[in-house]
Subunit: 414 residues, 2 copies
Amino acid sequence: MNGFDEDRTIADLRRLAEIGKFKTGVHRPALSDVDIEARRWLCDEMRAAGLDAEIDGVGTVLGRAPRASVALLLGSHSDTVPFGGWLDGAMGCIFALAVARAWSATAPGAAVGVDVVSFTDEEGTFMACGGSRVFCGDLRLEDFDTARSASGESFTERLRALGLAGRPLARLDPARHRAFLEAHIEQGPRLIESGVAVGAVSGIVGLRRRRVTFHGQADHAGTTPMSMRRDAGAAMHAFAVAAVETLLAAGSSESVCNIGVVSVKPGAANVVPHEAEIVVEFRDLSTPVMERMDEALLSLIAARDGAGGVRIESARIGAIEPTQMDARLIAHIERAAGEVDASYMGMPSGAGHDAMILGRRIPAAMLFAPSVGGRSHHISEDTDEADIRRALRVYVRAAQSILHALGSDGRGAL
Amino acid sequence: MNGFDEDRTIADLRRLAEIGKFKTGVHRPALSDVDIEARRWLCDEMRAAGLDAEIDGVGTVLGRAPRASVALLLGSHSDTVPFGGWLDGAMGCIFALAVARAWSATAPGAAVGVDVVSFTDEEGTFMACGGSRVFCGDLRLEDFDTARSASGESFTERLRALGLAGRPLARLDPARHRAFLEAHIEQGPRLIESGVAVGAVSGIVGLRRRRVTFHGQADHAGTTPMSMRRDAGAAMHAFAVAAVETLLAAGSSESVCNIGVVSVKPGAANVVPHEAEIVVEFRDLSTPVMERMDEALLSLIAARDGAGGVRIESARIGAIEPTQMDARLIAHIERAAGEVDASYMGMPSGAGHDAMILGRRIPAAMLFAPSVGGRSHHISEDTDEADIRRALRVYVRAAQSILHALGSDGRGAL
């Protein structure tokens, strides 16, 4: 794309990482002073790129191409988890800015423009994906009334202190926003382990969570013969082993599951546990697959309920539906990778992103860059500069390709 | 035995249960006002039975047969766990008193007497088996300087407040005390489940405790493929299942084991556990058997260390050696059961008792009575009166038989 300046984009990324810098990472939680400093800087850069840019009433920055009637929406978020990495979110904002600048230079005054966004609080300091959910109309401002950070700060009071309360809210305009494209680091080890330069996200997995509770009987661990025990802990350990096997057998090749919460009561070395509890979480790209996995889990519970005198009960405590990314946009990314000679793979995203929220309203896609060691949400998060540059080239080429597909009047098919 | 009054003994048991009565149970923690009230009452009853009785400098009540040069020591403890049962400890004290009364009436002034004891703090309000350990010289008074109850009360200050500080300490006299016999409720379900009236304890099991820690890696439970995880929790569950099998295979038919302490970090549903920890406890009557079990556990740890990227380490965090009860005393109990037509079985004790402390110094034995539902340490603890009476008859007969064996000069073989 004419006017695309790769070195400047890398410099912008490093400049943004200075705002809230903490050791090798960044500490820029949503609505912190440095988060707003970063958003003001982004706003200024968007304006310099010719966009009408504002920080809205929840902290989202939206830059609109002033003369366009139709736009490709590009961006991500610029807040971080506490003491997080320099690329998570930032990469998608800076890549978007690079495309906006180049498109302004290439096709000034075109009917099809590039809008750039940095959503507020994707990381959930107050409310996960809060900015994109307000943008899409999934949340109203009142829904934040009780939102507080882990340290007890009120979202609404922070907005007021920052002078943002009462500002207009940026909104998705389905007539204008034909598609959303988000660049992001992978937050997992697939690309780096397989030595592939870029991934296009096929979809963002959904999840199910089920709490499984085992009810036995507390007994003296010295005086009660093994055969007379109703050991909730022993039943739980055996169930946990079987549950993982059962879930993966019932799932797809992409399914994952985790047992991250485990407790045993009363929790004394010399007392046979009378209660044990685990939270079983599993994810897949397909709702029917997740339901099949849940049925298999329920069958396992039913089969084991009462064995060894231990009663088992369970409750679904969480469900998020998967979001498919747009196949036409994915094809643009794949083609772009081929054109700039970057290796490519399709892959699901196991983590949530703003594109998950947008993808329920308009065609959306994500491009992943490899993370060193698969690490994220930590100051050690990093991507080799060569990999950043490769992902950037693919992203810019894919955006250009989408913009061309939309045509001079913005009515072209994706 | 001439002078043995069964009904009075039952009445005494019920009288003692009134001191500190709580609903259907008793709340009489060591050195509480009601504990001392119970000990003063016991002291008075011992004196009325002709013994020289005193409360000693830690709260133990010892009543000595005044003219005897050799004695059979009988007793148990009269303190309870908080909100405990009416028989745990009390039964052994009241049964002992019944024998002392009868023996005084039967053989006044004999060279062989009956000494009665109620040890302080068997239940460990401040220090488990504190009284019997001082009595045997295993603990000095200074060892209690830092002993505090769960509510923060100091043992030493309680002694002072009760006017007991500085009193002489009752001591085991191996030249005088030829044997110790303790009646107690079973604190487990073996007798009640098998419908047997009395058990003679073959020995008090020892125990080993090993903390096993699993070190993996925390990863995002959505983005990390199953094959790339180092899941400390999954390794722990599988190990826990195998550990029980391994320990029981290596142990004896009486061995028991328990995994009562379980933790997983960071403890979030969406994070693969980076650390898991369990405490594995196992018990047996034989030290070589426990060592064999521990070796099998260590082999299992070695075999699994590193599998799935999870490192395993372990440390022994507890060891108590078993105490064998005296076979000659057990034979007296078994014979006595036959004589009063009570069904009988030999059995290990999985719980600690004062007889465990005494048994390391002098010949000791325990007689168990069945507990309804195997329950103890709870206000629901109970034994059918018919079972109490049967156990009492066996106990009195066994004590008489031992006293006769000691002979008129106290020099006879047990």
